[in-house]
Amino acid sequence: MKIVALAGSIVGSKTKTAILKTVEILSQKYPENEITLLDLAEYTVQFSDGRNYLEYEGDTKYITETIMAADAIIIGTPTFQASIPATLKNIFDLLPVNAFRDKVVSSVVTAGTAKHYLMVEQQLKPILAYMKAHIVPTYVFMEEKDFHRKEIINDDILFRLERLVEDTVLTVEALKIIRIKKDEEYGF
């Protein structure tokens, strides 16, 4: 299966640290999967202007096509003004309606304060649901004190990341079984 790990911010280090750790766990636990890291800080992405995603060029086209080809996307997001950063929202805006149909999406989120722990529920999940994602219900929330000099120092976070990776991969597999069953039923 193809898994994309998306670091949704172009500044800061916590989200990137978290997503890199997630990728590391993923590659250790499931080395057979094709994992692509998309760190938005490394790309120049244009603002969405409403065109079909296939019609963009350069980095923008690469990012949208890579996401659209994935079976699962693990989104890493910081919390800006009690929501996701504009850079991440722009990625959603670049994609077509129902872009996440038949895809599994899970999230790891960082914030400056624990008061933001429901941000994913209130801001991110409604967007993912609208885009028809199979959302992995639990997410990993991390705050300032869980990090020290670009390392995750809270063991609880590490265990939870492992569980998130497991849930993501297993949900893709379960969906595949559902799809096979449905296809048998449809007969076309």
């Binding site: 202007d49 995603y53 096509e65 659209m68 449905k182």
Partner: protein
């Protein structure tokens, strides 16, 4: 209706249209040449005429996987190859062309075909054509409105004096040649949401509405909004024809139709939109209430009559060749349409 060459006494018109897409057959993986594809379209128009189909349309799309960018040239060849069937665009991307040029082309097709040409003008759904043909995408809504107004004016007046923002003015211009009977039916192509339908209504121009799938009832607000807007604008909605369009596949049984259509539909959507057609949604499509025309002939007839009750349209246009459908299947569809579907729906929809 007479102005638009439609006779309600004969019942609903049935047409075929193609976007001129040029894709591999997903089952064999083979892709015919662009030349063969264009010749197929001309051949299909002849078969359609023989089968008693009323209209044949070819559209333009300026991107990969398409082959009728010069759709007026193809329509010219069809005009020569046929003698009775109406010839229309489906659609002309008016935003990227000059309305004077478009009118000249279609008036010429009208003369070649002895008064059978029509224009369906649309905005296009891709940015590619705008870049390719040098039109500023930022103004795309306004450019279309202005060009459509000019096209309508050219159609209605002998000498055109006109001024706008996106084209040099015209002063007492004679647009030649003139069509056979002095004017052409000009329709506005309308996508799903009511906004564009309302604009068509305000302009008092016939509407060709795409109903590509999903519940047919979802398109009803566009039809109602169109008629309301026309009335507000002082036009008689009863004098304005509505056409609907849908992807179409008929086979001996519904199961066969589903099995045969799905790979083409899914592959076609994947190629041009970058996302396939959801199977679950397709499985629901044979239901009478779904707009996508797939099923046995009985099923299709029921769907069409259901939609006729909903919309009261004067014409239905079917797209039977999307996604690399092989020609023998296109022939088979035309045969069933001509033998079974058209007689049934005309019988029920002829205004007495």
């Amino acid at each position: 209706m007479e102005k638009y060459r439609i006779d309600p006494l004969k019942g609903i018109e049935f047409g075929l249209y193609s976007l001129g897409d040029h894709m591999s057959n997903p089952i064999t993986g083979e892709r015919i040449s662009a030349q063969a594809r264009i010749k197929e379209l001309i051949e299909a128009s002849k078969l359609a005429e023989q089968a008693g189909i009323d209209v044949f349309g070819v559209g333009e799309s300026h991107q990969t996987y398409f082959t009728t960018q010069a759709h007026t040239v193809v329509l010219g060849a069809i005009a020569q190859a046929t003698s009775k069937i109406k010839i229309t665009s489906s659609a002309t991307v008016l935003s990227v062309s000059d309305p004077v040029r478009v009118y000249e082309d279609f008036a010429t097709i009208d003369l070649i075909s002895d008064g059978r040409a029509e224009i369906v003008a649309g905005r296009g759904s891709r940015v590619g054509a705008y870049h390719l043909l040098g039109v500023n995408l930022q103004d795309y809504e306004e450019i279309f409105e202005e060009k459509l107004e000019l096209l309508k004016k050219i159609n209605e007046e002998d000498q055109v004096t006109w001024q706008g923002e996106y084209r040099t003015p015209l002063e007492n211009a004679h647009i030649l040649p003139q069509p056979k009977n002095g004017s052409l039916p000009i329709w506005r192509a309308v996508g799903g949401p009511p906004t564009s339908a309302i604009k068509a209504g305000y302009m008092g121009i016939p509407m060709m509405l795409t109903t590509l799938g999903g519940p047919a009832i979802n398109f009803k607000p566009s039809v109602d909004a169109y008629r309301e807007a026309a009335e507000r604008s002082g036009f008689d909605p009863k004098a304005l024809p509505i056409a609907t369009t849908s992807l179409f596949y008929v086979a001996d049984t519904t199961k066969e139709a589903l099995q045969e259509m799905y790979p083409h539909l899914n592959g076609g959507f994947q190629a041009i939109r970058g996302g396939g057609y959801p199977k679950q949604q397709f499985a629901q499509a044979p239901d009478t209430r779904d707009a996508l025309m797939v099923g046995s002939k009985e099923q299709i007839i029921e769907k069409m009559l259901y939609q006729y009750e909903l919309y009261g349209m004067q014409r239905f246009m079917a797209q039977i060749d999307f996604g690399g459908v092989p020609f023998e299947k296109i022939m088979k569809n035309i045969e069933i349409i001509g033998n079974d579907i058209i007689p049934a729906i005309k019988k029920y929809t002829a205004v007495k």
